[in-house]
């Protein structure tokens, strides 16, 4: 919603605050200022209006907020009309209509709008038309309630379609209306939708007679219609929110007065007012103490003042005491609440589920074993018999939830290979999803890749992850020096086989074993022994590698290789 600063004074004649200040203050009270510009000697504030504040999609609503914030008097122009006695031939036959006001005007003289109206609409980036249409747009922006002019003199019915019908909008595009769409029909044909006009009833330059209407509908109906037709207009943006039907007479009278003044026309019918279920008067008392919610002292007099100033009957978003509390804190100022006092750090019983703790332990173990964590998309194009399908995912290439992690990790591996990234082992802990006896099940799973894929479901019992890849608990107490010995060996086996064999052969005094040199079938091993004395280590070393004497560590002498005995 854009507002021109100078135009706010229509409703707030005593407004003294600068446009910048207003933009800042409106942001604090919930209407986020997302742009500020100066154009044609005017200051324009662009605001993001909260979806429950349809009333603020017009100047009047924002003026109401400022009147409370700055303690100003609000001036709402009141006009009265002089309708004739001849009734209008129109009817409402839909439960989605909350209120309609309409009147017929004759002897219209259509022309260009006045320069002020033209400038106003231009700054709001609304296309110009003739003086009647421009005025309906002007009033919509002023009061936040859309209105419409028909180049028809009788026979309008508000109804929900029972069959699908085609409809031509004002700009000439043909659309197909599904059943239940709310339309305004003329001679059994839809001539207008709730939020967009039709071509066959648009105001033309030669139009002499017109029916002007202003209405408020069930917002859900308008939203559904607008979504189904994939059409958004300035009117639909307002009508799909809760608007105040009691504001219609004020805005409507203002509109008719302006039309009569600008087009020299005359009222030619009685005033039609359909309003079957009047908004009941609200009675909400402040049963919650605002200070107890804000955490700071807000004086009772201030609370009372705000409650008196807010016209809760005009505010559909206020339903209960907590809503009043919000209003009070909002106007008192969120910026007055200190931000340096976090919640009391007292310890409450730990309700962290065991599975989350398991996952955390698992991750740090895998990390220490050199595994990198990856995350992949939980949706896939691979279908299995127990796959769960999404019904409306617009990313059509990913229609199923994954039933295993290995597929995802394989994809990741392929990507790494494509990018020629030197491989390191990696893992993912994520959810897998499948159907089981008509139930949709999701489970945490661990998938690893270290040359081959491994996958297991993580359960919330601590027992479960003991099954996972071998040594997890490798912290040791060291009681004597670590002994490092080398061995030269000739073997036809692969490095991996040799290492695996000697790891096993040496057993629990092995700290680490590495191949430090390798030429064709000649290997040099370096072995670290721990928690055993020098003599034992040497004995075991000689025995394991079938050596006759200890080969000196760091020896530069020619190596004597012995044949492996595996």
């Amino acid at each position: 919603m854009k507002i021109i600063y100078s135009q706010l004074k229509q409703f707030l004649p005593d407004l003294k605050h600068s446009a910048k200040k207003i933009a800042e203050d409106l942001t604090w009270i919930g209407h986020f200022c997302d742009g500020f510009e100066q154009k044609d000697d005017e200051e324009i504030i662009s605001l993001e209006i909260r979806s429950n504040r349809g009333d603020c999609l017009g100047y009047l609503g924002l003026a109401r907020e400022l009147a409370i914030l700055y303690n100003l008097d609000l001036k709402i122009p009141q006009y009265s009309l002089k309708p004739t006695s001849s009734p209008l031939n129109i009817k409402v036959d839909s439960l989605d209509v909350k209120r309609v006001m309409a009147i017929k005007i004759r002897d219209l003289h259509l022309a260009e709008s006045s320069s002020e109206i033209k400038k106003f609409l231009k700054l709001h980036q609304i296309g110009l038309n003739n003086n009647i249409v421009d005025l309906t747009n002007y009033i919509m922006l002023l009061y936040g309630i859309p209105c419409h002019a028909f180049s028809l003199s009788n026979d309008l019915i508000w109804e929900n379609l029972t069959t699908s019908t085609t409809f031509t909008t004002l700009d000439g595009s043909k659309i197909n209306l599904p059943p239940t769409t709310l339309v305004i029909s003329h001679q059994q044909q839809p001539t207008c939708l709730s939020f967009i006009g039709g071509q066959n009833s648009g105001i033309q330059l030669n139009t002499k007679e017109a029916i002007i209407e202003m209405a408020v509908y069930n917002p859900t109906r308008v939203r559904l219609d607008s979504k189904k037709l994939n059409l958004t207009t300035e009117a639909s943006l307002r009508l799909d929110k809760e608007l105040d039907p009691d504001l219609i007479p004020t805005a409507f009278n203002h509109l008719i007065k302006l039309i009569l003044n600008h087009s020299k026309g005359h009222i030619d019918s009685a005033l039609y007012d359909y309003y079957p279920n009047k908004t009941p008067h609200k009675n909400i008392s402040l049963t919650i103490n605002p200070s107890a919610i804000a955490g700071i002292k807000i004086p009772d007099e201030f609370s009372q003042k705000i409650i008196n100033k807010i016209d809760i009957d005009h505010r559909s978003d206020i339903e209960s005491a907590i809503d009043l509390v919000e209003e009070i804190i909002r106007f008192w100022g969120f910026n007055k609440i200190p931000t340096d006092q976090p919640v009391n750090p007292r310890i409450l019983p730990d309700i962290t589920p065991q599975i989350l703790k398991n996952i955390e332990t698992l991750k740090s173990e895998l990390l220490s074993r050199g595994f990198n964590e990856v995350k992949t998309k939980p949706l896939t194009n691979k279908k299995y018999s127990k796959s769960i399908a999404t019904q409306n995912n617009i990313n059509a290439n990913l229609p199923y939830l994954r039933t295993n992690l290995t597929d995802s990790l394989e994809e990741q591996l392929n990507q790494y290979l494509r990018l020629k990234i030197p491989l390191q082992p990696f893992f993912e802990i994520g959810k897998i999803y499948y159907q089981e006896n008509n139930n949709l099940v999701e489970k945490y799973a661990l998938g690893t890749f270290d040359g081959k894929f491994h996958e297991t479901i993580i359960d919330d019992t601590p027992r479960e992850f003991k099954k996972l890849p071998d040594t997890f608990f490798n912290a040791y107490e060291i009681t004597s020096q670590i002994i490092c010995l080398d061995a030269n060996l000739i073997s036809s086996k692969t490095e991996k086989e040799l290492l695996a064999y000697y790891r096993k052969a040496i057993g629990n005094i092995l700290w680490d074993i590495k191949i430090i040199d390798h030429y064709r079938n000649k290997y040099t091993f370096r072995v670290w022994y721990f928690n055993c004395d020098d003599k034992t280590a040497k004995q075991i070393h000689l025995k394991t590698f079938k050596l006759t004497k200890i080969q000196r560590t760091l020896s530069k002498k020619r190596k004597n290789y012995t044949k492996d005995k595996i």
């Binding site: 919930g30 909260r50 609440i337 931000t339 050199g370 964590e373 409306n392 995912n393 390191q424 959810k431």
Partner: protein
């Protein structure tokens, strides 16, 4: 004399060097013997001798031989422990989890396959709220079973499953039915926080969130809290962070606003507590939800949001 200098240069063993030093510079060393009758020598000879002595001294000083101690450290070559890396999102989550554990919070979890009841109804999202639109929600069995669109569904589960008081944070991913491109993903990662206790106020919420942002972004960060609307909270607030690129002036990064929206928060709506059979007269609480993706992208300098899930994310091996 030149021979001695050569010997020093050639010497490789520390013990030999020490012997040589004693032989040359010792009390009864070669040099001292020469200097003994220095007074009988002509001036030129004296200068020459002095020069020689200095030369030998510097030769010894410059000569470095691995002593047993230095050899020991070089033997201690680090067997480079290959440590793995956590995913950037996990790192961010851990950072926050650690903060909240220190404030006495538990970590919580909830299902991603959710029901309409827990994703919307119990959070006071009215039937006609735009969030319910087909366009935004991925359904598995319309209209009842869906993929959660927000981590607030964990809040609804928590309120239903646990008895207050509790303090909980919950990281999790959620799904929106949106097209994927460089800056938008249909899978979002959020961080939810819920506290229900006696006398919980906006002051507690503001203080906690402020601490959170300072932990993530550093102590100089400026946060403001403004009024905002979310159905599950009342009053609702939105924390904004002052744009770190322009410091509130307005720039392309913050789209001219000077501030960046960080998420949503507020005091839990009494209706939401009532639906979970928690007496709103006795208990109050706050809740907040933040997006983690953008922050993580900024921290790790990722330009494409798709990198976060699979694909082009890799870890450079550590240098140790």
């Amino acid at each position: 004399m030149e021979d001695y200098l050569k010997k020093i240069a050639e010497c490789t063993e520390a013990d030999e060097l020490e012997k040589l030093k004693i032989k040359l510079l010792g009390r009864r060393g070669v040099l001292n013997r020469l200097l003994a009758d220095v007074k009988n020598l002509p001036v030129e000879k004296r200068i020459e001798l002095n020069k020689l002595k200095k030369e030998i001294e510097t030769a010894f000083a410059n000569k470095k031989i691995e002593t047993p101690a230095s050899r020991r450290t070089s033997l201690l070559k680090f067997s480079s422990a290959k440590l793995g890396h956590l995913h950037p999102l996990t790192q961010t989550e851990n950072q926050l989890n650690n903060l909240f554990r220190s404030l006495g919070f538990s970590i919580y979890d909830g299902p991603e396959i959710e029901t309409d009841e827990f994703c919307f109804e119990r959070l006071n999202v009215p039937q006609n709220h735009p969030a319910r639109d087909l366009q935004d929600t991925i359904y598995l069995q319309e209209p009842e079973i869906l993929l959660r669109t927000q981590t607030s569904s964990i809040e609804a589960r928590l309120l239903y499953e646990q008895k207050p008081p509790f303090k909980v944070v919950a990281p999790g991913c959620c799904y929106r039915n949106e097209k994927v491109n460089k800056s938008n993903h249909f899978i979002l990662h959020q961080y939810q926080g819920v506290v229900v206790d006696k006398n919980i106020t906006l002051k507690d919420l503001f203080g906690t969130l402020n601490l959170l942002f300072k932990t993530l972004y550093g102590p100089e960060v400026i946060i403001r809290f403004r009024s905002k609307y979310y159905p599950e909270v009342e009053p609702g607030v939105g924390p904004d962070m002052q744009c770190f690129a322009c410091h509130g002036v307005g720039c392309p990064l913050c789209k001219g606003a000077g501030w960046i929206e960080m998420g949503g928060a507020g005091i839990i709506h009494p209706k939401v507590l009532k639906m979970a059979n928690i007496d709103p007269c006795q208990w109050t609480g706050f809740a907040f939800g933040l997006g983690l993706d953008r922050w993580t992208m900024a921290k790790f300098n990722l330009k494409d949001i798709r990198t976060l899930l699979g694909g082009n994310l890799a870890y450079k091996p550590n240098e140790l």
